[in-house]
Amino acid sequence: MAETKRLADPVSRRRFLAVGGGSTALAAFLAACGSDSGTTTTSTTGMKSSGGAGETAEFGKGDVGILNYALTLEYLETAFYRDVVKSGLFKGAELGTIRKFGSEEAEHVEALTAAVKQLGGKPAAEPKAEFPLENAKSVLELAATVENLGAAAYLGQAANIESPEVLASALAIHSVEGRHASVLNTLLGESITPDGAFAKPADVKTVLESVEPFIVG
């Protein structure tokens, strides 16, 4: 692991640290379904979250905030794979997989950027990132961490998304992150489903704290 980078810019530092807020409680699988069955998803006001929607407020309001949060993560993933390809640590089939995943993350960046604009928002800026690229094994481990975290991040926001169209797009990305995570876990000889039969979500604070070491100035 390279030395932990610190955020110099107080604004971006705050953005990456202070988005805690209430826990979403969305991890409470299936248990409390009965109570919420009457809520409607048809009006925008009826979609207000009972707990977690404010989590991404630092990235923008409502769906724009959630999309910009996702965009920030996708920027990091794209930069990571780009650096890994350049590192020369991989060849052959593994390099092919890394290139493929990297190009898919770049497509996610494009789609999310377009979606933020369509909602009238301002797309988040690309963070400057640096990743420790020491050897193939440590890089694969980091890739697996990033992808499992990315999948959990999308899952953590799904129920906070107001627009069904944005939700449909987020879900189409979410399952691809899950596929990536499964492949990397397989390459490392780890379980493809580390959470068991039901994937667990991650809240914004946990996710941002995990990626913070890779954000520079």
Partner: protein
């Protein structure tokens, strides 16, 4: 919903079959529109989707029963495969893991439908035509990819946030399965940057041949 009311008439044909008996027209249109929105990455289907949603009365129980039918299929498929697929080594462990996950999905969906006051559908009888490991793997890939697309297509119509979050937790696991099975098949594990959603009608059509 009549054709004249559609904000985007060009989408009217998406996923709509005239012989549809199980779904209301508005539901079929809704799912097709959501699919179109996700596939093309646009937000242009907005007003159209909202109107269809308002007309769709199926509710979460119907969606969950649809998911339950798919999970019955997968669960039975892998349970049988333990003795039929002639799997060994890594694949044998994978089959066992997948059988266990799908069984848990069946149980969770059944419990949730009951909690919502609904009646879980009965398990159909299935017939899986394969005679060797490669035949098994080909079917497994179809089922897992279809499962992912089915959940992705149906989820935006889910009303309850808790049910949506739970469905998300399941679809991610299906995606993980799909990638692992694809690796076994020497196929691209994540072939596209966006998993295409499938509407219910198309999903049912895809699995129909395996219902005895």
């Amino acid at each position: 919903m009549s054709e004249e009311q559609l904000a985007h008439p060009e989408l009217a044909g998406v996923g709509v079959d005239e012989d549809s008996q199980d779904l209301s027209r508005s539901e079929v249109i809704l799912k097709g529109a959501l699919a179109a929105g996700a596939v093309y990455g646009t937000l242009m289907v907005g007003p159209y989707v909202r109107r269809a949603l308002a007309m769709s009365g199926g509710g979460d129980v119907e969606i969950l029963n649809f998911a339950l039918t798919l999970e019955y299929l997968e669960s039975k498929f892998y349970e049988e495969a333990k003795s039929r697929a002639k799997a060994s080594g890594e694949l044998k462990s994978l089959v066992s893991l997948l059988a266990d996950d799908e069984k848990q999905h069946v149980e969770a969906l059944t419990a949730t439908i009951k909690q919502l006051g609904g009646k879980p559908v009965a398990a159909p009888k299935f017939d899986f035509p394969y005679s060797d490991t490669s035949g098994f793997l080909a079917l497994a890939q179809t089922f897992e990819d279809t499962g992912v697309s089915a959940y992705n297509g149906a989820a935006p119509a889910i009303e309850s946030k808790e049910v949506l979050a739970a469905a998300g937790g399941i679809v991610q696991v299906e995606a993980r399965h799909a990638a692992a099975i694809r690796l076994q098949n020497k196929a691209e594990p994540a072939p596209q940057a966006f998993d295409p959603p499938l509407d219910e009608k198309k999903v049912l059509k895809a699995v129909e041949p395996f219902i005895a």
